[in-house]
Amino acid sequence: MAQQEPEQESGRMLTMSRAMVEAIAHEMHENEEVFYMGEDVADYGGIFDSTDGLLDEFDHDRIMDVPISETAYLGAAVGAAQEGMRPIAELMFVDFFGVCMDQIYNQMAKNTYMSGGSVNVPMVLTTAVGGTYNDAAQHSQTLYGTFAHLPGMKVVVPSTAYDAKGLMHNAIRDDDPVVYLFHKRLMGIGWMPAPDGPKTAVPEDDYTIPFGNADIKRKGDDVTVVTLGLHVHRALEAADSLADDDIETEVIDLRTLVPLDTETVQESVEKTGRLVVVDEDYRSFGVTGEIIASVAEGSLDDLDAVERVAVPDVPLPYARPLENEVIPGTDDIIETVQNVHSNS
């Protein structure tokens, strides 16, 4: 798909969290109906800096700390959105969705459809995903597949500051519920060092990145690697190393799961014939299976070799050797790309 984005000419480098907050602040200034609510989002600025600084610009009515009662406040966001407001509601960790899933998937995601289109729910649900810091099974999941699987929510996963800002503007302006999943490790938080990639140049002005536009983060002719979130950066690192062995890897960042840009993936596979899908979510019934299925449906003939790299179907363990074993690392990606390259 054609990319209609402004050039990233600005030299201003922002962390992913700063870029997200900039978009939110802009939309809140532009539109009185936009407000943000969540636990520890006001004075703390969000545990992962997702609202850092907003309280300096807005009062507690626009940047609201709420009780630890996700069912109530996420449901309240649904209700306010149905009144035509544009709430952004934060679920601190995606892992906590269990306590409030009804409001998410039976109300937020389904009301538009069940009402025959007469009701719409223009809200954004932001939430942190990802492991890599040994916080065990209730605080380290990504769950991309869970949200993308259930119809009625648009699902966004930025991997760079530039994408984070453009996708956030689009999310807030969208008339449908958008689930905006940000990876903790990419935010640029002081206490959780990010890899080099997510901090990028970000234009000061607002711009939108339309949903359903995957981004080719690196061009290559030999193997297509499709991924998202933190693993975009691991895949890019792998690609650098593979280039030393003369394997040219194309790295596709999906950026949104719903809608999904299968066209960009298929075009790439037509060129390379080899596909590796990398995901930090569980292996079964998830993003990896979906991407491979859509390529198989659309261009089976182009496909010479395919493999996936994901979290084996185990809850995220605590101890470092165990967590390292299950979360795909750069080495796992390198090995899999080499496999796919030599097996075809």
Partner: protein, 339 residues
């Protein structure tokens, strides 16, 4: 009781030291011998100790994300708990759970990092006791921030309507991470929540271990005698950040200072002295606690880390064939929870 409190404080001071190792100069949560989040309970000790004094091994306790003081008071194996926090193979959960997810079925202790979600399982333990006609009880601990959560409110109702032997203990330390309770809770005292569910609600105002002990004695006794649930709220204090590394920029310094002055351990020490316990005895308790803690930490650190392949084990207690990536284990695992 004093012993449990001193052990808990001492233990957490040592954990804090170990936790901070390797995390500097710029605090990096994933570095050092203990990675991940660490929520210490300094200031909460009187609650775990005062309540658990009345519990037996066959009574169930569920704790939240700040569990160590409760675990120690319930008699969780200190060495294996420490090994778990260090992510070692010999840990209570073989390194899979970590500090927020400690399970010790031997003394019926469990905890969860999801707010208020320990309440329903405690109700379940109470239900089992009632159905089996035993006189064991269940206690669920939670923070004052957790009292707005559906799981807690639903649990109060279910325990009440079924007349179950459950004691709910709210540890009020005034803060839920950065949120002071006035900003997020409608009632002044969490114990008022009991009113809506037709069960007794009691509040112990100052962090006074003896008062907590007396209050819990009645509540546990009531439950054991088949007279149903009680909600207790105890005032504790938070001496440090919500988790290690929390900059606490939201918290007035005077509040932290005030909290640090209200030391329940020192308070109990002077109560003991007033009751004629001599200084030597108090020192001996402190020394023993210290030795026990050192021994646990040294032992834990000597244990090996788990092998990476162990990540695939224990997803099921009765694994269907073909679900693990490792060779099927020839060891037969009991299907109950108490191996």
């Amino acid at each position: 009781m004093f012993d449990d409190m001193v052990t808990a404080r001492n233990y957490e001071e040592r954990l804090q030291e170990e936790y901070l190792e390797g995390k500097q100069p710029a605090f990096d949560i994933s570095a050092g011998p203990i990675p991940g989040e660490l929520h210490l309970a300094a200031g909460h000790e009187a609650s775990g100790a005062g309540v658990c004094q009345h519990l037996r091994e066959d009574d169930t306790v569920t704790a939240p994300h700040r569990p160590h003081h409760v675990a120690i008071a319930k008699g969780v194996d200190l060495k294996r708990m420490t090994a778990e926090i260090f992510g070692r193979q010999a840990g209570l959960c073989k390194g899979k759970g970590g500090h927020m997810h400690l399970f010790d079925p031997d003394v019926k202790f469990a905890c969860s990092g999801i707010i208020a979600e320990g309440c329903p399982p405690a109700v379940g333990a109470g239900l089992a006791a009632k159905k089996r006609n035993t006189d064991s009880v269940a206690v669920a601990f939670l923070g004052e921030g957790a009292i707005d959560q559906g799981a807690f409110l639903e649990s109060l109702n279910l325990a009440s309507v079924q007349n179950l032997p459950v004691v709910f203990v709210i540890e009020d330390n005034d803060w839920a991470i950065s949120m002071p309770k006035e900003r997020v809770t409608d009632v002044e005292n969490g114990s008022q929540r009991a009113d809506g569910f037709d069960l007794p609600g009691v509040r112990v105002d100052s962090d006074d271990a003896i008062a907590i002990y007396e209050t819990a004695k009645k509540a546990v006794g009531r439950a054991r005698d088949g007279n149903g649930p009680t909600l207790i709220e105890v005032q504790v204090h938070r001496r440090m950040g919500h988790f290690m590394g929390d900059p606490e920029s939201y918290r007035p310094e005077t509040d932290t200072e005030a909290a640090q002055q209200r030391d329940s351990i020192e308070r109990l020490a002077s109560d003991l002295r007033a009751h004629g316990v001599d200084e030597e005895e108090i020192e001996e308790i402190r020394d023993n606690a210290h030795d026990r803690v050192e021994e646990a930490i040294e032992w834990a650190k000597d244990q090996p880390e788990p092998e990476p392949e162990e990540a695939y084990e224990d997803v099921f207690s009765n694994p269907p064939s073909g679900v693990t990536d490792t060779e099927p284990s020839i060891e037969i695992r009991p299907s109950g929870g108490d191996d």
